[in-house]
Assembly symmetry: D2
Homo-oligomer: 350 residues x 4
């Protein structure tokens, strides 16, 4: 099947490669020539412009956008006038699902079809396959099935859920690794929640491993400060462990209740750099975590874990600094407490 | 190798079976005759009493306790006088690591060895293998290696971490699925944090799926109440999705960033009972989550996610009810707000 | 000065009374005749309809809306066509500040002025005065100064901030209890954050008093369950206190760091009903707490306390029930754990 | 009445001054001569040593310790041997209530009485009076009543709770500002929770004001980055406010639902230094917040707000840095995401 791909970053390039390996015909475009040249060598047809892409493709065209969420509308503004009724646009990036609802209506008015496809897999997706969460009309999803099948991991990449076997259920799309989640926006809605969960899981591992890292605090604080500002550690004998974090992450990978792909990556990162000195700890967030909270707030459901995970990232980037200074200012006002110099912190990066 | 096993609940029975399958000699005891009878048929030697167990075993004995944390000390009070210098006691349950530190010293004074072994795997451990986190002296860990090797999943149950292959590292114990974490208590310390992380991950999935479940709120609230007590949903058109949770959990199992064994179990549970009507939502906690927080507080490290996960369980059991009533009481005092009847909640169990 | 008041609920009636006591001329309207009759007896001029109100007033009219946020637009739809260029509309309710921005533009196009006035004070405002947070154009705020002055508490109701005295600063509007916060929407933005903070403070008191209430848990759990599901309380001797919550709230009212008006109300509520049996603990939220979080998320600032306070309210209304059931389902899957009956909870309402 | 005071820091000196002003006889000791000299000039009797203090006092002695929690035991080791049966020791500092339980038993065995007195008021206590939360035996509390009465603010410092007037209740100790909370440890238990609540309230104000501070983010981010790492602000027009925080804190002081003494201090701090440049934002915690959580965890009650307030302080001191670096490391592993330089943060201290 023929597909156009606009945007050849880490994700877009991976998608194209996986499609090429499965025998699909890819017409590709990116503003970076190098990204195109590499994929051309692997069999893709390159397009110098959106117009060039459109001219190379047969009807009905299916064009997949793999762009930063903030750039989709401007690319559509150029692309849409070039298209023909019945063509299909797929947004595989991390767009806000509300934009999908709006765009699908705008495109529908022009006779164009639209699918929103939340795509998970990261740089490993080329080999592992991509998990695809799809929103839009069922007949268009059906039309694109060969592409989704090729991108998805396939049922063999994990053991079937036992009751599916017991009930002798046929293998479903979900078990292949792609799912038509509902009408326009449903794909990105599910992907948004997926990422919200991802933030929570990442924070769970990070907080837990941070406690393990500080399990030697009873050794370090040999002379705890006995002043009104700080309570001494009451039982230093209980915090005498120098934990080997790379080995601990590794041992959890097999047989434990908490093994996961994120844990595999954690073990990999800690093996390479046990103190993680290569990182400063300014953790980005790319939008889905925020949108997850916006949805949950409007639905009025509690989300203490998902919100905490996002706010830790905000705080890591210094966005709570004024709040912290105000706490110190209040302490000064009511108790005459002076701030302690931060240099005393024994936990700082080594 | 010969091992004694006291406690044949879900976990203890699984350990014995896996050891028997690997050719080890198991002397077992439990107060429940049925548990013993089943395992006897599979090749275990049963002991009617602790004394009987001790008499059946050759020196140095290695006896594994697989008991609720609250029962370990009383069993030790009976068992220890029956033992001989050089015997080894292994606590494989979910004991508090501080008890390990105390017990190991008490037993050392009597010439007995002690290992604490945090054991993860649940009812699936018999087939998947158990992840073992071990604290104690290195020579005793070495002595018990055949047992740990048999219980652990083995390196083949997951792909090796890439850099271990690239660096041509020999397969380590951690890769087999067991790890000597440090001195007495280190095993249960690591297991404690493991469970703290587990709580966080479980909460991340649960909160996220709860948001998906309520993604149809725009349909339900067709007549939002326009009163001073409740803000109407501003954009019901954005919450029109009836999400298929069993399929969504299933699709995430392959290729996504959030796949994990807990997700496998979630998909299984949702397939069997999509509305989870079999459950009331009174979530237990068995101690490790609390101890994780106690450790983190003494170490003075932030744990917003892990604490939120634990507190959600407390609240699920009604332990915040007085706090909530006080909030309503304050609202009544300052604003004359009356409580709304709970029956209006559209999200309650169907 | 003459003012029209639409909406005579708890807040609207209080505003009118305070204005009447200060000699202002109030033309009032409400769909409830009783509310009008009471105020008529105290000197207000009643209007049977919005048209009647408009006819009774001299130009430029100043009409204050004190309505649920969800009803403002429909009232404006009727009112606006009756008005004359130069008239002033004041929204004193808990509107979303984004609606202020929109409405002010719409009204401006018709030659009408608009102020948004966040109004705090509750049922006590009649006596204590109202704290007014105002958004809009400076000249309109200036025009309305007599009304704001009358409603606000006045500088004498609290000691002046020391540095204002030391620097011999003139008494500012803020010290009177009203403040022009900025352009359209700024008043409700500040009020929104005010309410977000209020949620956080209320939760802080409630959580703390809940811990005190359970300080007798060492007495109650005389036979802690020794099973794998529950960790026994390790030191019951430390939880033997039957705390007198009404007295504790009272003692904090004088001299402590945490005294506040909310604490005054807490002491009052606990004195009347120490077990708070009159309340079920279904805590409402009226919108500002949610909007506070939406703003903070878009600003990317951490808000762990404010979000936790809101989510506790959501959970109190059962909106996390599915999430909790899923946690129990996962526990059943991996560990074969059965849910405990909720009846065992010793902390439930007496 | 005669009282000995050991420890003349900010709090101890204030207590002595207030007692002197009320005509009590104070024998004082501190290792800092200057602290003693100042109070001698105001009428206190100085003691060069604990022995000297004991010799100057008549039986039964009442000696108040106002020391950092970590120093109480060492001072008691010196003091106790000098005392006579029937003497009274009062710990007015921020001791852990479990130490009170232990100490009271140890002192009881020697015929000495013990009271634990949680003391709130800070540097303002000299003028406002101190809020006293007392644990111990009722007859000893009764004996010390003149001292507690003198230190406490007195009923006139706040309006009586309405129902106390309506029911014509006699003025209670709690209304004077001191309270016998229960047996040994109860005073510090209540003070501990008081401080836990204080942390929560402080965080509520700080987080809320931080949102207000960033309400101009729509102006600052004129060129939002359009890349895969960051979601652009969708509606910059809603974040155009330059909020005047000193005025906002001031306006809330009168008539609002959130006025409090902490707000008075906040208004004072912001007036002096609106950007709080004098502070670095490394917020200390002195123990009670941690102990509050330990108690709540053992009681199994939810404390999302109180815990979040404490963890914000831990994070402000860099204790979550490793956790944050691990988050960045995971993002690099699965998505190839590079950390952004922190310099891009527009919110950093000006």
């Amino acid at each position: 099947m023929q597909i156009g791909m606009i945007g050849l970053g880490r994700m877009g390039s991976g998608l194209v490669r996986r499609l090429l390996r499965n025998g699909h015909d890819c017409v590709i475009h990116d503003t970076q020539d190098l990204a195109m040249a590499n994929l051309k060598a692997e069999g893709a047809n390159t397009a110098k412009s959106l117009q060039d892409m459109v001219l190379q493709m047969s009807l009905p065209r299916a064009i997949w956008l793999m762009l930063p969420a903030g750039r989709v509308d401007e690319v559509l503004a150029t692309l849409v006038p070039l298209l023909t009724m019945g063509d299909i646009i797929i947004d595989g990036g991390n767009s806000y699902y509300r934009d999908d609802i709006r765009r699908s209506a705008e495109l529908h008015a022009k006779g164009l079809h639209y699918l929103d496809v939340g795509t998970s897999g990261g740089v490993a997706g080329l080999e592992r396959g991509y998990c695809l969460m799809i929103g839009g009309k069922a007949n268009i999803v059906e039309h694109m099935r060969p592409i989704f099948s090729a991108l998805a991991p396939g049922v063999a990449t994990a053991a079937r859920t036992p009751d599916r076997v017991l009930q002798m259920l046929a293998v479903s799309d979900a078990e292949q690794g792609f799912l038509h989640c509902g009408d326009h926006g449903a794909g990105h809605f599910v992907k948004m929640i997926h990422n919200g969960i991802e933030y929570g899981m990442m924070a769970a591992y990070s907080e837990g491993l941070n406690i393990l890292r500080h399990a030697n605090i009873g050794k370090l604080e040999v002379k705890p400060e006995h002043d009104a500002e700080t309570t001494p550690l009451r039982n230093p004998e209980f915090y005498q462990y120098d934990m080997n974090l790379p080995d601990i992450a590794e041992v959890w990978r097999r047989g434990s209740v908490i093994n996961s792909w994120l844990l595999d990556l954690t073990a990999s990162a800690l093996l390479k750099d046990p103190d993680l000195n290569a990182y400063g700890g300014q953790v980005s967030d790319s939008g889905e975590g925020r949108w997850t909270l916006l949805a949950g707030i409007e639905e009025a459901v509690p989300m203490n874990v998902l919100s905490a995970a996002l706010f830790e990232r905000f705080a890591s980037r210094g966005r709570g600094d004024f709040s912290n200074r105000l706490l110190s200012a209040m302490r000064s006002e009511f108790g005459g407490h002076l701030e302690k110099p931060s240099a005393s912190a024994p936990e700082s990066k080594k």
